[in-house]
């Protein structure tokens, strides 16, 4: 009997939303305790700051350029490498419960397996998961959660925020008390909400296993990704009026806009409502209209969603305890990417490689039976390192096609094994607007270079000192005294950046 693996992901969750990472709004005692008993990573980055490429990196252990899911809407081929398949082939029972998003959600022709599964009454085998039950942010669509809700609680379907508007664009509709975009009062009872459903279905699957089964379970919560529509019954947990403005929100408009003007021009163009370069942000929302109170209310609702996730994880861990597995289960928690959540006066995500989107929570609580020593790891790691970590935990040889390495257990281990840098990519093309961006983070610096595209001529970039400028408000790309450092970082970036998959995979849908 080997070590069992509970892999927990949330969606679009910032590093600073957890108490163990300095968060002060949401109470996250379960995750904080896991961090205290395990490894807490202080500089974990995704390899893409949008869902599909990032999730494809988690399952393949490859960079977006290699697995080929270069933007949302590009499907990961069904026969792509999968760590779940690797573990399943080595005797592990495997499940994914919650948000997959390896294939586009918007699929009127029902061309993608993930969307056909629930319609066909199937729960596996898919990408190595013998059990596959899916959910996403709302109550509509073909996935298992939506079908469960429609079949069992049809009155609740209309209670959720409608993520897309009548033009099938991400909705800019506002709600709550401040009119903040994608904030909505959702009357759904908590026990019908997708966070609790994901935990319930995970518990049900765990209960179906034999005591001596080895298992790998990916429990994938759709929250705290927008819309911010947690069950209204839970809103009393946090009064948005009491929520402090995030450090990255610059209250003074003149100073905020001056900071934006030091960044490549698509930042300010989006802020002013002149350019929306990606589908993930509402096309008709102008960030410059965002108020401080709206930032507070978004952060309050986001924190409520984080608390619900923490409590749901606690229920699953209690089940694991009750099954007598507690000593033999590794728990890894992370997310696919962050959320701007008020930084620079912005919300949502896009081609903006700063900590709000790039620095993500990552906790690995090894099985207590392994006798590990808790540590905080400050060296850079990536989601590309997860799949090799799962293989290492399971005692399975790390396949050649994985590009990362098993996560380091402390800084000395990281230094010994060469965890010096982490890379993040962005490519997008949407109705004639393309953005191409590559970023390296190492030695306390974050350096991004833009390739030619709709808004950029290839000379633009961003260079931030993460120690002296933790909020990335001083872009030193054009600082002559930084020329040598910038050039060294870029040389290192291009030395390690994989070549883009060829031919380029087709964009199948906006998301």
């Amino acid at each position: 009997m080997g070590r069992k693996i509970l892999f927990i992901t949330s969606d679009q969750q910032r590093y600073d939303t957890l108490g163990c990472n300095g968060g002060t709004v949401a109470r996250t005692p379960v995750l904080d305790a896991l961090a205290a008993d395990g490894y807490r990573y202080e500089r974990a980055h995704p390899q893409s700051v949008v869902c599909m490429p990032s999730r494809s990196t988690m399952i393949t252990g490859q960079y977006p350029s290699t697995h080929g899911v270069w933007m949302n809407g590009v499907a990961l081929p069904v026969d792509a490498p999968s760590v779940a398949a690797e573990l399943h082939d080595n005797g592990y029972r495997t499940a994914l419960v919650g948000k997959p998003h390896f294939e586009p959600f918007l699929d009127p022709f029902a061309r993608f397996a993930e969307n056909r599964f629930a319609a066909n009454g199937m729960t596996g085998l898919h990408r190595g998961f013998e059990h596959f039950e899916s959910a996403t942010h709302g109550a509509l669509g073909p996935l298992h959660y939506a079908r469960w809700l429609a079949a069992n609680h049809p009155e609740a379907v209309g209670m959720f925020f409608q993520v897309l508007d009548m033009s099938l664009e991400v909705s800019a509709a506002g709600g709550g008390e401040t009119g903040a975009p994608q904030v909505h009062d959702n009357a759904v009872p908590r026990e019908w909400y997708h966070t609790d459903w994901v935990a319930d279905r995970t518990i049900s699957w765990l209960d179906s296993l034999a005591a001596d089964d080895d298992w790998f379970c990916w429990m994938s919560f759709p929250d705290p990704h927008h819309p911010w529509d947690p069950p209204a019954s839970e809103l009393g947990r946090i009064d948005w009026r009491d929520v402090p403005l995030p450090a990255g929100y610059i209250e003074d408009r003149e100073r905020r806009e001056a900071v934006l003007d030091t960044k490549p021009r698509h930042w300010r163009a989006w802020y002013d409502g002149r350019l929306v370069s990606n589908y993930e942000a509402p096309a008709s929302w102008v960030p410059a209209t965002l108020t401080a109170d709206q930032v507070r209310e978004v952060n309050a609702r986001n924190a409520v969603e984080c608390e619900l996730i923490d409590e749901a994880i606690g229920r699953v861990l209690a089940t694991i305890d009750a099954r007598g597995w507690a000593d033999d289960v590794d728990v890894i928690f992370t997310t696919d990417h962050g959320e701007l959540q008020g930084d620079f006066g912005l919300l949502f995500k896009g081609p903006y490689h700063v900590d709000g989107l790039m620095r993500i929570p990552l906790i690995w609580r090894p099985a207590p039976s392994s006798g590990s020593t808790p540590a905080s790891v400050s060296r850079p790691v990536g989601l590309v390192d997860l799949a090799p970590t799962f293989c290492t935990i399971a005692g399975v040889a790390v396949p050649d096609w994985m590009e990362g390495a098993a996560l380091p257990v402390d800084d000395a281990d990281a230094d010994r094994r060469g965890f010096e840098r982490v890379l993040t990519e962005w490519d997008s093309e949407l109705f004639g607007v393309d953005v191409h961006l590559r970023t390296i983070t190492r030695d306390g610096w974050m350096c991004s270079t833009y390739q030619p595209g709709f808004s950029h001529d290839g000379s633009e970039g961003e260079l931030y000192d993460l120690v002296d400028d933790p909020l990335q408000q001083v872009n030193r790309w054009d600082d002559p005294s930084m020329a040598s450092l910038r050039s060294n970082l870029l040389a290192d970036l291009w030395d390690h950046q994989p070549q883009m998959h060829s031919p380029l995979r087709r964009v199948e849908a906006p998301v």
Binding site: F109, R111, E508, P510
Partner: protein
């Protein structure tokens, strides 16, 4: 801009007339368009059934057997504007170029339909070149 405009093409190693027999027949779209399970034509009206089970009404606008152009529009209310255009162009050497264009408002729909048309062109080429 609210209009999404997507164009895909493929070269098929078969004569244009042969390819047009299938691609230009409005009753046979489901034979080569993955994700469309049925077509019913009545005069200038066509109803296709999507893989998701959704029926989609269309109006046939052009069926030009001389220039080998087929053009239609989806008339479902969600579409403020739609034009689907299939052109089969003779390139000589017993080959042809097939172009499938989608212009659509809402523009997001153009991406979804457009990727379907790309898959359809792949399937059309496969069927033609293996027959």
């Amino acid at each position: 801009m609210t209009l999404g405009s997507i164009r895909h093409h493929t070269v098929i190693r078969r004569p244009a007339a042969t390819v047009w027999e299938l691609a230009g027949d409005p009753t046979r779209l489901h034979e080569w368009f993955p994700g469309i399970t049925a077509c019913q034509v009545d005069g200038n009206s066509r109803v296709i059934t999507l893989g998701s089970g959704l029926p989609m009404p269309e109006e046939i606008l052009v069926k030009d057997d001389v220039h080998r152009r087929f053009q239609y529009r989806i008339t479902a209310p969600v579409f403020k504007y739609h034009r689907g255009t299939i052109d089969v162009l003779d390139t000589g050497d017993e080959c042809c170029l097939v172009v499938y264009s989608t212009d659509c408002d809402p523009r997001a729909m153009a991406l979804m339909i457009g990727s379907g048309t790309a898959g359809a062109l792949d399937e059309l080429r496969r069927q033609m070149e293996t027959s």
